[in-house]
């Protein structure tokens, strides 16, 4: 029996380090993501994990942005609260440009891009007036995507426990 001293091929790295520092990876390669405490896998085109789906980007999308699916079956940024707010699908884990494959976190915990107003621990995370970003509110509404786990200021990433709201 052969033993391995390390459970993943690339060891322990942050999302940013995984996205920028690793080269030469092959399908099925793995790395422990220290931002989330989980194992990420390389599909041959993008890093993903058990809480994510993969999809073609319909625009440039970066880590932490909220996405929806467009009429081409591609991921684009979720817009304003008054426009299809309930169509939020997931949060970009590993981004890309138009036509590239990206991964979207669809359950569990995700780091989300904070909009202009900042977010507060314990409040509901919902989409902001800045496409792809979140604000926090004290009450849930259509378009809410989870609970904020970290008070954070504008422009940064905040941990959110995902629980997309369904319209009854």
């Amino acid at each position: 029996m052969a033993y391995r001293g390390q459970n993943t091929k690339y060891g322990n790295l942050t999302t940013s380090q995984i996205a920028t520092n690793i080269t030469g990876m092959q399908v099925g390669d793995s790395v422990f993501n220290t931002d989330y405490g989980r194992v990420d896998f390389y599909t041959g085109s993008v890093w993903t994990n058990n809480n994510s789906i993969t999809i073609t980007a319909g625009a440039t999308i970066t880590e932490g942005q909220i996405c929806r699916i467009n009429a081409s079956g591609q991921a684009i940024l979720l817009g304003t609260p008054s426009s299809n707010a309930e169509f939020g699908v997931g949060i970009c884990g590993y981004g890309g440009t138009l036509g590239q494959t990206i991964s979207l976190i669809v359950c569990g915990v995700a780091k989300c891009r904070v909009g202009v107003a900042g977010v507060t621990l314990g409040q509901y995370a919902t989409i902001s007036s800045t496409a792809g970003s979140i604000v926090s509110t004290t009450a849930a509404s259509i378009g809410a995507l989870g609970r904020v786990l970290q008070t954070q200021t504008s422009g940064n990433l905040a941990y959110v426990m995902l629980s997309f709201i369904e319209r009854a």
């Binding site: 896998f41 699916i69 369904e166 319209r167």
Partner: protein, 174 residues
């Protein structure tokens, strides 16, 4: 026995779901599936991953791969089971059948991730999907986005058939 140090660290290397090993496996063995981008682990009966749940097929018929199923209400206290539905927009939708399952047998169901689903009619890219009046098949959601929607189409078809889809983890109801 295959060693874990071989095949990119997986017992059976890189495979598609259709080419999964079907004999000689031991519980705990693995392969990396390029269809759903998951590490598949053999549990002694099925190849499973974090996207799957197992329910008993109580539909009265064999469930085929990519049939859409709902949770059965009124089951016994010791079993959770699934059936097909002919109710459009059924909020009890669970997911899609991963492996064909005989009536009364355990059925593996994907409840999130990148999979396929049977559809009753023409389906466009990006369509939000829900149950249909055709047993075991999905359809494009009509009207407002509402409960019963389980995912989105990421391929299209001009008529009844199958499409690629994203299955969403279930949502909190408001």
């Amino acid at each position: 026995m295959a060693y874990i140090s071989l095949n990119n660290g997986y017992t059976y290397g890189i495979r598609t779901l259709a080419n999964r090993p079907i004999s000689g496996m031991s519980a705990g063995e693995t392969f990396f599936c390029t269809d759903n981008n998951r590490v598949m682990t053999y549990d002694g009966t099925f190849w499973v991953c974090d996207d799957f749940v197992v329910m008993v097929n109580r539909s009265g018929v064999t469930l085929n791969q990519w049939d859409l199923v709902i949770v059965q209400q009124g089951g016994t206290s010791t079993e959770i089971s699934c059936v097909r539905t002919t109710t459009s927009g059924n909020p009890l939708v669970v997911g899609v059948v991963v492996y064909q399952a005989l009536n009364g047998a355990n059925c593996v169901i994907a409840v999130k991730g990148n999979y396929r689903v049977a559809v009753a009619s023409a389906t466009s890219l990006g369509a939000d999907l829900t149950t249909s009046a055709t047993s075991g098949s999905a359809q494009t959601n009509a009207g407002i986005f509402s409960k019963g929607v389980f995912g989105f189409a990421t391929s299209s078809t001009a008529g009844a058939g199958q499409v690629d889809c994203i299955i969403m983890a279930r949502k909190e109801l408001i």
